[in-house]
């Protein structure tokens, strides 16, 4: 009964982007940070392809982003943690969303660290979702952008990947490994003119972190999303820390000698 109208009239391109970001594929569109990023991209009148598991949630998102100014919103329902489904996701993007220029990988999982210490299954699942499946799908999209010699690949990892800590080294090692993977990919795609951005947020308020102590003081996802959108639009940086203060915090944390660090209950 309700018709949805996309309204290009409400979109106000903020600044002339340095890179031609127009069509963005979002892998993990229902994650907390992705929700904010998408809203800002919609406001700028971009075209979006949203990939996530729940068809119902995708439909709600599609309606909202169209009303808020996105020029086109496509959705594809698939489980990104399942590598067998990756080929179909990629084919859908290539055929129904041709010439996409930006891919943002925004999904992840954060189990309770204690659980993965007690269960190898949980441990492997954590590594598989956050690292293995992420590298698999990035590889498909990387080959396409490399062939077309254009575009940008961005993935959300975490400051937790910068140093292994007692309290969350399983999640941290998966995200750290993903950061390393992106580092290599960046160098490989550099000659083809394809950008690779490693996004390292500090703790952000979202449904993934609500249960953590002190979550009320975590960063505002809207601010983090602003940083991410700006990084997607510009030529730099390669590695984005957001909020910015985490670049300095992690630089300091990495300087602590291991003999001392292992004694800290961080």
């Amino acid at each position: 009964m309700m018709t949805l109208t996309a309204q290009p009239t409400t979109s106000r391109p903020a600044t002339t982007p340095a890179t031609a970001m127009k069509k963005i594929v979002i892998l993990g569109a229902t994650s907390g940070i992705a929700l904010e990023v998408q809203r800002q991209l919609a406001h700028q009148g971009r075209e979006l392809l949203l990939v996530a598991r729940s068809p119902q949630r995708l439909a709600e998102l599609q309606a909202d982003l169209a009303v808020r100014g996105a020029q086109q919103v496509l959705t594809y329902s698939a489980d990104l943690a399942s590598i067998q489904q990756h080929a179909a996701i990629f084919e859908f993007a290539r055929h129904n969303f041709p010439d996409f220029d930006t891919v943002l990988l925004a999904y992840g999982s954060m189990h309770d660290q204690k659980e993965s210490e007690g269960s190898v299954d949980v441990l492997l699942e954590e590594l598989r979702v956050n690292f293995v499946s992420a590298t698999a799908i990035l590889t498909l999209f990387a080959a396409d952008l490399e062939r077309r010699r254009t575009g940008c690949l961005a993935a959300i990892t975490s400051v937790a990947g910068d140093r292994g800590r007692r309290s969350n080294y399983v999640y941290g090692s998966a995200k750290g490994a993903l950061s390393l993977f992106l580092q290599g990919l960046r160098s490989r795609l550099y000659p083809a003119g394809v950008r690779v951005i490693t996004i390292k947020p500090g703790p952000v308020q979202s449904s993934m972190t609500d249960h953590l102590p002190g979550s009320a003081r975590f960063a505002d996802p809207e601010q983090v999303a602003r940083d991410i959108v700006r990084a997607l639009e510009r030529r730099s940086p390669d590695v984005l820390y957001t909020p910015k203060v985490w670049r300095y915090i992690m630089t300091a944390v990495q300087q602590i000698p291991e003999t001392i660090f292992k004694r800290l209950s961080l």
């Binding site: 309700m2 018709t3 009239t9 409400t10 998102l61 009303v67 100014g69 449904s207």
Partner: protein
């Protein structure tokens, strides 16, 4: 306490339950909550309702209710702010469907550029649609448009025992009337269809006129109500029986052509020391405010933000009142009882405790949209009082007496302290509302004024 029982009923592995501090806009009372649920999707709400103990939950939005009607001390809240998607907007009919946690601000941003506006808006744009419905909020156009609830065509309501219930004028019409003004007690609003109103642009033809007596205010108000969509007055509450004030009236302007980009206003970073607001500083402020507006009386074309939402330009203005917070007193008194209204003003003036935000408005005669709607024909006044302990509460009790004797009512959205007796006078038919309450819902306010558990 009853909070304890809700806590123990809930299955929880942790030995000591986490305590979340959540405050309302008045920052009084200071309450701790046992748990705050933060659903991101409507499909998560049924499970929250199912797993909860009876009387343990209350939906929470942007926390702009002043007192305890949005709080559930010792129990749980469902923070609905992540349910903030606009599910559809028909540009040709002005019908918008949004989730309960969408803010009025978000709706304006989407619909105003294409010539639509909220049918009714309160004095802040930072309230959720769910909150606007649950408190059946009113605005400067009450005399011609009624309340917000009058423009809600349909809602989807999560109920703990019947799933998602669709309510409109044909289907479950009584549940819709219970939910409008129902203080969040009937369930969680999943989505609502709201009929917007056409406007030519984002500007308002506004006029301000100084007045120096209650009768002068009433004359102005009666003269204006036929020709102006929006009327409201600011009142210097230190002036007593013959109050001075500024009468504001306006209409949406024909397209002004100019786009206006508001700057992000200043923000109060922390609660000010309580001594900053005293009878001398407030009196000086009021005199200055009156003189400035009296001097520039007349007509002007102003951006809608400054006409509808002057206080939104100072973020967290509630921190002005210091750490103890403040109470707002909003009552309505029948126009046939002007003596009572004058006595009320006199008592406030003599107490010397009033503040600078006195707002006066003549309500229209539109029938109430909800079972517990507050607006009714008469004069309504809203005033802030910094919380100074017993003496503030005493003053308000003495005002209650006037309201009760005059057949008036107090507004639950602004209240943190009214007695069960005054609630009874204000909403004599509240028992008819009780059958519509969701068995899993309760609130601090509801327990306080009805004695419910």
């Amino acid at each position: 306490m009853s909070g304890q029982s809700a806590a123990t009923l809930r299955k929880q592995s942790a030995a000591s339950p986490p305590i979340k501090r959540v405050l309302s806009w008045g920052r009084y009372p200071k309450t701790a909550h046992y748990h705050v649920h933060k659903p991101s999707w409507n499909d998560q709400v049924p499970e929250i309702l199912r797993a909860a103990a009876p009387g343990s939950l209350l939906p929470y939005g942007l926390g702009r209710s002043y007192g305890d009607s949005c709080l559930n001390a010792g129990r749980e809240l469902i923070d609905c702010r992540r349910l903030n998607r606009i599910l559809g907007f028909d540009e040709s009919t002005g019908m918008v469907r949004c989730e309960g946690g969408v803010s009025l601000s978000d709706i304006i941003d989407v619909v105003l550029p294409v010539g639509w506006f909220l049918p009714v808006t309160p004095g802040t744009r930072f309230v959720t649609v769910g909150g606007a419905i649950a408190n059946d909020v009113h605005g400067k156009n009450h005399h011609c448009a009624g309340t917000f609830g009058a423009h809600v065509r349909q809602i989807g309501l999560h109920r703990s025992n019947d799933g998602l219930v669709v309510c409109n004028s044909e289907e479950n019409a009584d549940m819709l009337r219970a939910t409008v003004g129902g203080l969040g007690l009937t369930g969680v609003i999943a989505w609502a269809d709201i009929q917007l109103k056409r406007v030519a642009g984002s500007w308002v033809d506004a006029e301000s006129t100084p007045f120096q007596s209650l009768n002068a205010f009433l004359d102005l108000s009666r003269d204006s109500n036929d020709h102006f969509e929006y009327t409201v007055a600011w009142l210097d509450c230190f002036a007593g029986k013959n109050p001075r004030g500024i009468f504001f009236r306006g209409n949406h302007a024909a397209d002004h052509g100019k786009e206006f980009h508001p700057k992000r206003g200043p923000k109060l970073p922390f609660a000010l020391p309580a001594c900053m607001l005293n009878r001398y500083s407030v009196r000086a402020f009021n005199t200055a405010y009156y003189r400035i507006h009296a001097a520039k009386k007349g007509a002007a074309v102003v951006p809608y933000e400054s006409f509808f939402y002057p206080l939104d330009s100072i973020r967290q203005w509630n921190l002005l009142y210091g750490r103890q917070g403040f109470l707002q007193y909003q009552c309505v008194i029948p126009e046939t009882n002007l003596d009572a209204f004058e006595e009320l003003l006199d008592r406030i003036a003599r107490s010397g405790m009033g503040s600078f935000l006195g707002v006066l408005k003549q309500f229209g005669s539109a029938p109430p949209a909800g079972m517990l709607s507050f607006p009714r024909p008469g004069l309504t006044i809203a005033l802030d009082f910094a919380m100074r302990g017993e003496r503030t509460l005493k003053l308000m009790q003495s005002l209650d007496e006037i309201v009760r004797q005059s057949g008036g009512a107090l507004y639950p959205a602004k209240d943190a302290r009214m007695s069960p007796a005054l609630f009874e006078t204000s909403f004599p038919r509240w028992r008819g509302f009780v059958p519509y309450i969701d068995p899993k819902m309760s609130s601090s306010f509801w327990r306080r004024v009805t004695g419910a558990q």
